[in-house]
Amino acid sequence: MINANLKSSYAADERVLNNRYKQAFVYATILGLALFTLFGNDYLILIASQMGILLIAVVGINILTGYTGLVSLGHGAFVAIGAYAVTIFGNLGAGVIPAGLMPFISVPLAVALAAAVGVLVGLPSLRVKGLYLAVATLAANFIVIFLIEEDLFAPWTGGMVGINTNVPNLLGWELDTKREMFGLIAVVGLVSLLAAQNLIRTRIGRAFIAIRDRDYSAEILGISLLRYKLMSFALSAAYCGLAGALFAYFYARILPEQFELALSLNLVAALIIGGMGRTMGPVFGVIIVVMVPEVIKVLFGALAGDSAGAGQLRAPLQQIAFGVLLVLFLLKEPLGINQIVDRILRAANRWPFARG
C-alpha cells in the first residue's frame, strides 16, 4: 500500500488533500453527514449537534493554543458572549430587521463582539506566557459570567435564571427542529474546519506557529508579536463566539452557568485529547469528550439500573473517568489521538515493510 507522492506542479504539492485516500475520506464524511442529517435517529442527532457546536469552539482554541502556543482558560467567556449577543441582538432587532435576515446580521455582530473582547483578553499575552497567561485569561471567564448575572444587565441577559433564545430564520426557513439545526451546525462546522486549515497554510498560520516554536526567531523574520498574538486571540474568540451563537440557536434557553469555568476547561481538554496543532485534533477530541460521558451513562445504566441512587453515583464517575482519561493522554500521548492515528496510517502506508 505504498502511496506514491510524486507531484508535477507546486499547486498539486500544496494541496491539503494530496492523495486519493484523503479525498475519499473527506467526501465520504460529507456524504455520511448528509445522510445522517436526513436519517439519523433523534438521540444521535442531539449528540452529534453537541459535538458540532463544541468542535467549532475547539477549532478556535486550537488556533490559539495549538498553533500560537498561548494557553487560555477563559474561552468559555467567548462562547457566552456569542450566545448572549446573538440572543440579545435578536430580541432588540425584532420588528426592526426582517426575521429572515436576522441571523445574517446578529451572528456576524456576535462573532465580531467576541473577537473584540478577545483582543482585550489577549493583551496580557504580550507580557506573560504559559501558566501566568492561563491565570490572566481565567479572569475573563469570571468577569463575563459576573456581568451576565449582574442585576444591572438582567433586563437584557435574564440574569441568573437565563433567557429564552430565538429560533433562527434563514431567509424564511425556520430551523425549529433539532434535525434542521444539526444540518446548519454540520455545514458551519465543516466550513470552520476548512477555514482554519486554510489559515494555517498561509503566511498568517505560519507566523502563529513561528511564535509558538520560537518567538524571538519569529520577530527576526519580521513578524510583529503584538499583531499576531492579538490576531490569534481575536480569531479564536471569534470561533468560540460562533459556537456560542449556534449554541443559543440550538437550545431553547441559555443559562450563565453553562458557560462557566467547566466549559473553558472542557475546550482545552478536548484539544489536548484530540491533538494540539493539528487540523483533525479538535475533531477527535470533541468526539471523545462528548462520547465518554454518554458511553458511561449507557454502560452504567445497563449495570446499575436507572434508580435515583444509581444516578447520584454516575455523575462523579463520569467526572473521574474524564479526569483519568486526560491524565493518561498527558502522560502517554501528549500529542493526542491525532498522533495515534498518524502512527497507524504511517504503518499502513508502509505495509508490508517495516513498521514505525
Binding site: 507546486y10 486554510n198 503566511r203 498568517i204 513561528a210 524571538y216 526567531s217 520577530e219 527576526i220 513578524i223
Partner: protein
C-alpha cells in the same frame, strides 16, 4: 511581491556604499560592560568578519544590530537611516536578516515551511484571504513556493530534505536551512552568528562556499561572527576584532593578523 528593486551585485560591489554603520556603540547589563564604543562600517557587497575571544561581545553586538538589545549609547544606521530604536520585526522588513549561534529554527515545522517564513514580510495576505485561501492567498503562496524552490532550496542544495521536519536533520543541515530561511527574506544585510560552529572540515568548506555564493549571486552584504580563523581569514574582506567589549582592531585580514593587540588578546602577552 513588493520589495525594493535589488541592485545588481556588480553595482553594489563597486558602489562602495556603507550599508550598515555602527557608531560608538555602548551596551551594558548592570555592571557588565558588554560593548564599549564599537565603531565600524560594513561595506556594501563585502563580507565583514567580527572576531574576538569568548565573551568579547560579538553576539551582544549582533543582538544590538538586530534590535534585541537597546544600546545605552551610540547609533546603528542602515542605508543612512537611523535604526537604533526600531523593533526587530521592523528591521527585518527593511532587509536585515540574521541566523543564530544556537540554531533558532521552528522545530515543529518542515524545512519548506521554515524557509517560507523568510518570505513573510513580502506577502500581504490578510485574514479574510487566508481563511478563504483560494484566490489571492493561493496565488501568493504558490508564487512564494516557486521562488523559494528556485532561488533558495536549489541554491543551497537541500531539495532532498524539503519535506523533512527540522528535528530529523543533522546539525550541519539545520545550519544550512537556517541560512536558507534568512536568504528567503532577500536581505540587503545578512548577519551570520557562527555559521560553522561545531562543524567538521567538510561541512565548514560547504558552508563557506555557500556564503561566498550568496555574496556573489545576490550581492548581499554579510557580517559574520566566527571562531574558525581559517575561514574568517579566507572569506572576509575586512575584520573587526573585539575584546572585553572593546574594539581593539579593524582592517584587512593581513593587517589584523599582524596586529600586536590582536595577538595578545588571542595568545596572551609574550612572556
Amino acid at each position: 511581491m513588493s520589495s525594493a528593486p535589488r541592485a545588481g551585485p556588480k553595482q553594489l560591489l563597486h558602489g562602495g556604499g556603507r550599508l550598515l554603520k555602527i557608531e560608538d556603540l555602548h551596551l551594558s547589563f548592570g555592571g557588565i560592560k558588554a560593548l564599549q564604543g564599537v565603531n565600524f562600517e560594513a561595506n556594501a557587497g563585502e563580507i565583514t568578519g567580527v572576531i574576538g575571544p569568548n565573551g568579547a561581545g560579538k553576539t551582544s553586538l549582533f543582538n544590538a544590530i538586530s534590535g534585541f538589545y537597546k544600546p545605552d549609547r551610540g547609533r546603528v544606521s542602515f542605508e543612512g537611516q537611523d535604526i537604533t530604536t526600531l523593533s526587530p520585526d521592523k528591521r527585518a522588513a527593511l532587509g536585515l536578516a540574521r541566523t543564530f549561534q544556537n540554531i533558532a529554527l521552528f522545530r515543529g515545522m518542515t524545512v519548506l515551511d521554515n524557509i517560507k517564513l523568510g518570505g513573510h514580510t513580502r506577502l500581504n495576505t490578510n485574514v479574510w484571504q487566508a481563511l478563504r485561501y483560494f484566490g489571492a492567498a493561493q496565488k501568493a503562496e504558490l508564487e512564494l513556493r516557486r521562488e523559494i524552490e528556485e532561488q533558495v532550496i536549489d541554491f543551497l542544495e537541500i531539495d532532498h530534505i524539503r519535506k523533512y521536519p527540522i528535528t530529523m536533520l543533522p546539525y550541519g543541515l539545520q545550519k544550512r536551512v537556517e541560512l536558507g530561511r534568512a536568504l528567503a527574506m532577500r536581505p540587503r544585510v545578512l548577519l551570520l552568528d557562527e555559521p560553522v560552529a561545531g562543524m567538521n572540515r567538510e561541512e565548514t568548506a560547504d558552508m563557506a562556499r555557500f556564503i561566498l555564493d550568496v555574496q556573489e549571486q545576490f550581492g548581499t552584504t554579510i557580517l559574520l561572527v566566527e571562531h574558525d580563523m581559517h575561514m574568517v581569514m579566507d572569506i572576509c574582506s575586512r575584520i573587526v576584532v573585539l575584546n572585553f567589549g572593546q574594539q581593539i582592531a579593524s582592517g584587512t585580514p593581513e593587517e589584523v593578523s599582524k596586529n600586536p593587540a590582536v595577538i595578545e588578546a588571542y595568545l596572551g602577552a609574550a612572556a
